[in-house]
């Protein structure tokens, strides 16, 4: 399947990536190979196959509704690139 540079740009935008011209061409090429591989899978008739489940043989992994300690705020905020005393500071989000 043909992956246009615009499409590569759109996908990059969703991932919050900025690509220059060279990178964009490279990405488009790589994504095209991935889509070709998907197209090969797509050629199989899966109409009657059950939807694939998880690979691990697990189900119903549940925990009781019991509180556990949260992180001390200091420790949590230590992960922030920008902070004030109580909050993470983020780029201004509209609305």
């Amino acid at each position: 399947m043909r992956m246009s540079e615009e499409m590569a740009d759109y996908v990059a935008g969703l991932a919050m990536l900025e690509l220059d011209g060279e990178e964009r061409r490279e990405m488009a090429g790589e994504l095209e190979k991935i889509l070709d591989y998907m197209a090969a899978l797509d050629s199989l008739d899966t109409a009657h196959a059950p939807p694939p489940g998880p690979v691990l043989p697990l189900k119903n992994v549940l925990r009781p509704d019991e509180p556990a300690p949260s992180l001390p705020r200091e420790e949590l905020l230590a992960c922030a690139s920008a902070r004030d005393g109580e909050y993470f500071l983020t780029p201004r989000a509209v609305e």
């Binding site: 119903n60 509704d65 705020r73 509209v94």
Partner: protein, 475 residues
Amino acid sequence: MIWETVIGLETHVELATRTKIFCGCSTSFGAPPNTHCCPVCTGMPGALPVLNRRAVLLAVRAGLALGCTVSRRCAFDRNNYFYPDLPKAYQISQLYLPLCRDGAVDIGGGKTIRIAELHLEEDAGKLVHDPWTEQSLADFNRCGVPLIEIVTRPDFSAAEEVIAYLEKLKLTLQYLGVSDCKIQEGSLRCDVNLSVRPAGSRELGTRTELKNLGSFKAIARAIDYEARRQIELLEEGRPVVQQTRRWDENKDATFPMRSKENAQDYRYFPDPDLPPLELEEAWLDSLAAAQPEMAWEKAARYQTQWGLSADDARTLTGRKPLADYFEAVVELGAPPRRAAGWVLGQLLAALGARGLEAEHIPLPPAALARLIHLVETGALNRNTAARVLEAVFDAGGDVDGYVAAHGLGQISDPAAVEEAARAALAANPKALADWRAGKGKAKGFLVGQVMARLQGRADPALVNRAVDALLEESK
């Protein structure tokens, strides 16, 4: 042209669990910012989410009450987007295999709203926008609080139907103990999808999605505004643009939202951290059998079993804590209709005067039951009892102690009443003369005077009889 409005709703409801959906952090509202967070709910590398059993239980209860089919097998998916309220950069939700499907809610007037699906997901954090800087403040306490999202079919045609549905949904979820549904605290939030089309047309028009609806009143007004806006556009020959619009309470209008909504490409995929859920038929059956009595079922029972009026039954069941309180008073022996009268009269008035909600009634049900008993047996008259209720309302409800300490027991000694009546007549010759002159009102005045002489504690029937007898005598 005549237009009709077509509305569908997406309602998010926070579940009444103690902890978050995938970690043990507390869900309690109003904690200091960023104190209910851990590696799981803030999406730190290597953290592993584990599903809260009670969140599943509450969601299934809600689904059953809304007439849904509960999926025997469901799973979780990641909804990917970048926004500062979401530290993981994805929200765990259910797209491909939701927990419940195909329900229905009867909203009265012969109208039924179909539920497309009900699924589990996690809430995002909260952002505070600083008007002075180019930054926002992020509080992640709400990240990972369990939600159910309830999606209806586009079955509503007016704001009144939407409000009727939401009222019923709220009552249902409160009765189930699934959620407190406090719209002002954000535990019930509603997005409205709205389009208009020529009346009778079968095709749907282009829709807009309305957000930031902070009260039922805002929802009703936003719907009316947006329907009018779309109709005006179409009548001017202009198209409706499919977009998300934000209700502005102060401007009484909707405005297009920027940013976040441009990239509604969530690239869902199954969450590899969470194994699927397979629900046992027997467990679902046992839950279905244990569903509590709903508000409308209670209201019907109050009428048939206890002879209450439809209005009284509806008011009592309109708030679950009030219905619970009323039933507790009846359980303690109060005749149901008397108990209803007291709860809807003096008790609601006392709550209203204090600005209290029904879940915070300070007077124990046993105190009200005792008060009603004292009135029923003639030990207190009704007016005195109302004064006692007011006096003990905030003070632990020691009815007998208060009555004894203030000597309020009803005076039912005919001799004492007769004595007071004679004194009252002697002291009010003018009223007596008026009565003799045929002014019936004068008797009411004299009865009041006798009551006053007995500090309002006398049995009213006894006072009436005594005054009648003396008036006869004086003819």
